[in-house]
């Protein structure tokens, strides 16, 4: 481990207006090393990666980037790629309407004369995929793949460029534990190929498993760099937030059982597009003042269940949904909201945000009639109410006039949550409420979940992270391939039993 770094940065400072997103950051990574980068949302990780990948071109920042011992002056992404830097973004960049092979070959299709050589294209894609042990046919349409599979394809595509430095930005955010296992194995393999890897993740146990060194960023500065094996998770968190978080999960309180607000009886449903049957017998119920966790592997149908209950996915083929004692069959979002049921979506980009509208206008969208008693929006009442909600959720954007697309993941999540809460729902459906959210903001979201239950609402939380489910739920239901396979109450949560239920055993 005494090799010269293949990439290093020297006192990088990047400003947006008066705000320094990066402040004199120095950082390096050696060949065959996995260097993890940790920090809260907004700590500057993404900005640093944009400097390294050429998205912020040379000249737009101060400081120096060295690649292979030479000063690098990237003009754009293509330029940094030609110097051997490949990046896999957190946001998926595959094109839905093309096949896997077309996505992989895009921009460099093998040709026969002026035509695309399709057999060669597919063969090339198959080689790329098999090298990364991804078992997906190159001719599959990307739209038919889950988020996890798409992520693995992105990884394979980046590796196919034979990079010297591979940047992975939150690669595991959408993966199941099995897929994460495969991914970490892949990352470890990079060592033998002498590829340097910069690994960004909020999942610290994962970081500990895979990284050689860990650098913590906070408020745009690099706080510390240490060897991973001598850097306990508690210490990492302390450095990330600048304060000690003893326990990420709020203390459990005895929940008092109220009336049954939501009941699902033997629900079957299929996609209205391709008739894929995602729900094959779901039974569960939630009471006022209770947090029900729903766990399971990717593809178990958890998101589909919540979206189906709310009315934005699929059609019911069998079974019944009962809200507040009354059967509820013709489900639409506006009717769900009227009956007091709200979904806080996992897919913020698609269902959650109007990207070019302000925070303020996004926040109001589900609850405008409440501030427009006689048809005219009362601007003062609206601002006051929204301001109070943002404050309650510890929203940290520069201005509520920022456009939603400019926000960090954590703030976007709070925005979607805040909008749901402004509609004052009695039943709150939360789909992966902490996806892409940093440690500090996580704690705030968990506390909000507790508070919602305490106020007598019924809360349903879907999560891929077992510790999170165990930490926030009063009861947990596990799902496997569209069926509920087990129900556990607080006190009998054991990771191995829950996992067995998730695997359908």
């Amino acid at each position: 481990m005494t090799q010269a770094p293949v990439l290093s940065t020297e006192k990088i400072t990047k400003r947006f207006g008066n705000v320094a997103a990066l402040n004199q950051v120095s950082f390096d990574v050696r060949p065959g090393e996995v260097h993890a980068l940790c920090g809260e949302n907004g700590a500057g990780k993404s900005t640093l990666m944009k400097v390294l990948s050429g998205q912020h071109p040379y000249g737009s920042y101060d400081g120096v980037v060295h690649v292979g011992g030479k000063v690098a002056r990237f003009r754009d992404v293509r330029d940094s790629e030609s110097k051997g830097i490949a990046i896999v973004h957190q946001e998926l960049s595959l094109i839905d309407s093309l096949t896997v092979a077309e996505n992989i070959a895009l921009g460099k299709f093998p040709r026969r004369g002026w035509r695309i050589d399709w057999p060669a294209t597919n063969a090339m894609a198959a080689r790329t995929l098999s090298r990364s042990q991804v078992k997906i046919s190159p001719e599959t349409m990307v739209s038919n793949l889950g988020v996890g599979q798409q992520q693995l394809i992105e990884f394979a595509r980046a590796l196919a460029k034979h990079p010297r430095i591979l940047i992975l930005d939150e690669p595991s955010a959408a993966l199941t534990s099995e897929e994460i296992h495969t991914l970490l194995e892949e990352v470890r393999n990079l060592r033998t190929q002498n590829v340097a890897c910069i690994y960004i993740s909020h999942k610290l146990d994962e970081v500990k498993k895979v990284a050689d060194r860990i650098t913590v960023l906070r408020d745009g500065s690099s706080v510390t760099t240490r060897a991973a094996n001598s850097f306990p998770i508690a210490e990492i968190i302390k450095h990330m937030v600048g304060r000690e978080i003893k326990d990420v999960y709020p203390a459990r309180e005895e929940s008092k059982q109220g009336t049954r607000l939501l009941e699902v009886r033997d629900l079957h449903a299929e996609s209205s597009l391709d008739h894929h049957v995602a729900l094959k017998g779901i039974s569960l119920s939630v009471q006022a003042g209770e947090v029900l966790g729903i766990g399971g592997l990717m593809g178990a149908g958890r998101s589909e269940l919540l979206m189906h209950l709310y009315g934005i996915w699929g059609c019911t083929t069998q079974g019944q949904v009962i809200v507040d004692g009354a059967p509820y069959s013709e489900r639409t979002p506006s009717e769900s909201i009227r009956r007091g049921m709200m979904l806080v979506t996992e897919n913020r980009k698609r269902f959650g945000l109007v990207p070019r509208e302000s925070v303020h206008r996004n926040l109001s969208l589900s609850s405008l009639p409440a501030v427009a008693p006689r048809g005219k929006i009362d601007a003062v009442a609206e601002r006051t109410r929204n301001g109070a909600m943002l404050k309650k959720l510890h929203f940290r954007a520069l201005s509520s006039e920022s456009e939603a697309r400019q926000l960090s993941g954590g703030n976007q999540q709070k925005l979607v949550l805040g909008r749901g809460l402004l509609a004052d729902p009695r039943i709150v459906l939360l789909d992966e409420p902490t996806r892409g959210v940093d440690v500090g903001a996580r704690r705030e979201i968990y506390e909000e979940i507790k508070r919602l239950a305490k106020e007598g609402r019924a809360v349903v939380v879907v999560s891929s992270e077992l510790p999170e489910l165990i930490g926030v739920s009063d009861r947990i239901v596990m799902m496997n391939e569209g069926r509920t396979t087990g129900s556990f109450t607080a006190g009998e949560f054991h990771q191995d039993q829950l996992m067995a239920a998730a695997l359908g055993k």
């Binding site: 709310y310 934005i312 979002p333 506006s334 769900s336 909201i337 979904l343 979506t345 698609r350 269902f351 959650g352 945000l353 109007v354 990207p355 070019r356 509208e357 302000s358 303020h360 206008r361 109001s364 969208l365 589900s366 405008l368 009639p369 427009a372 048809g375 005219k376 929006i377 601007a379 003062v380 601002r383 006051t384 301001g387 943002l390 404050k391 954007a397 520069l398 201005s399 509520s400 006039e401 909008r419 509609a423």
Partner: protein, 385 residues
């Protein structure tokens, strides 16, 4: 906690775009003024005002459709058809003109409501539905007027229909009207500011408020003074003001307006947020139907009679006006003030070229070129700021 530092979101959007437009407008006006001094004569400006009323009213209706991410290609045919129906009812059926106009207005609302319904229920793109509308309405139009010329008056006697573009507000009335409007503007501004301040919300600086109010009132005064040099303020201009103020209020201060922008910005998210997407789109189209009818009445009255070419290509002028005014054809962006400015640019161009007796072929080419250049400039300006 950093809640809003500066003025209204909407205001900011306008100030960003309105940099380019007045410059373009000034350029167009200067050119025509030099090319033919008659351009700035009270008579011509008065006529320009009527032409502006027609173009901008339709553009403001079109704005509602464009903001929610749709488009209306049938507006021009509709202008001909609805104006034609009213003319036939007056000239052939001898209906009193208010009843004829009212009936044609209802037909407009119904037809556009149906198109809206088709778009949301059958899930067919507005482009296709309204392209069908363009052809069907044109055919209906020619059937209704039997491809002939139908005057807007039954006899020699002027009626409400013909007066739309031939009646002018008397000088005295226009000044007292302005006084009332100025008082209302000042009162509303002060009241709104007072409430915002009392609630600790951001307000514009005193200078800016005074400046804005003064400029608004002065512009109106100037317009009235010029009009009074000819025959006075045209009735059609009052119709434009009424439509403009109503739509501006609706898009900025009602849930319906917010829903339009949300649907245009991300329809799936709007639906998931509980926005009544179908109802909003159908309502927007129904309002458009009423606006098309009003435009049809004014345009037909201005021509004096309904003929087969009334309304030709007007949908494209309306779309161009919206886009020049900063609206995005992808939806989610656009303001009434922008559409009004865009309409003024398009109307000035047409008026000036007619005055210079430019050949129709060249007129079309110039209108197209100006549209592309104006949008290009606007994009550049916005990147710069």
């Amino acid at each position: 906690m950093n809640i809003p530092i500066d003025a209204d979101y909407e205001n900011r959007r306008v100030s960003l775009q309105s940099l380019a437009m007045p410059l373009i407008l000034a350029g167009v006006w200067t050119f025509f003024a030099f090319a033919n001094p008659q351009f700035l004569s009270p008579r011509n400006l008065s006529m320009l005002m009527i032409e502006l009323s027609v173009t901008a009213t339709l553009a403001i209706g079109m704005l509602l459709i464009i903001v929610c991410g749709h488009i209306d290609l049938s507006a021009g045919s509709g202008v001909g058809l609805l104006g034609g129906i009213a003319a036939v009812l007056v000239f052939h059926t001898h209906l009193p003109s208010p009843a004829a106009l009212g009936l044609a207005l209802l037909v407009g609302i119904a037809l556009w409501g149906l198109m809206g319904l088709a778009i949301v229920r059958l899930k067919i793109q507005a482009f296709i539905i309204t392209l069908g509308g363009l052809l069907i309405f044109k055919g209906l139009f020619w059937l209704v007027i039997r491809s002939s010329t139908v005057p807007v008056m039954g006899g020699e006697q002027a009626n409400l229909y013909s007066l739309l573009t031939t009646w002018y507000v008397p000088e005295r009335a226009s000044f007292s009207g302005l006084a009332v409007v100025a008082a209302v503007i000042t009162w509303v501004t002060l009241k709104d500011r007072g409430i915002r301040k009392a609630s600790g919300l951001p307000v514009d600086s005193t200078e800016l408020v005074v400046l804005k109010t003064l400029v608004t009132i002065q512009t109106l005064l100037l317009a009235i003074l010029i009009c009074n040099l000819y025959r006075g303020l045209p009735l059609s201009f009052l119709i434009l003001c009424a439509v403009g103020l109503t739509v501006d209020f609706v898009v900025r201060h009602t849930p319906f307006g917010r829903y339009l922008y949300a649907i245009g910005g991300n329809e799936e998210a709007a639906l998931a947020c509980g926005v009544p997407v179908s109802r909003t789109v159908i309502t927007a189209f129904s309002i458009m139907g009423a606006v098309v009818a009003l435009t049809g009445f004014m345009q037909t009255a201005y021509a004096g009679a309904s003929t087969t070419t009334v309304g030709d290509l007007m949908e494209l002028d309306a779309i161009a006006a919206c886009v020049i005014g900063g609206a995005s054809l992808k939806g989610g962006r656009g303001t009434v003030l922008g559409a009004l400015m865009g309409g003024l640019i398009m109307a000035s161009l047409l008026n000036g070229m007619t005055l210079l007796a430019v050949a129709p072929e060249i007129k079309l080419i110039i209108r197209g070129t100006v549209l592309v250049v104006a949008v290009l400039l606007d994009v550049r300006f916005r990147q710069g700021s």
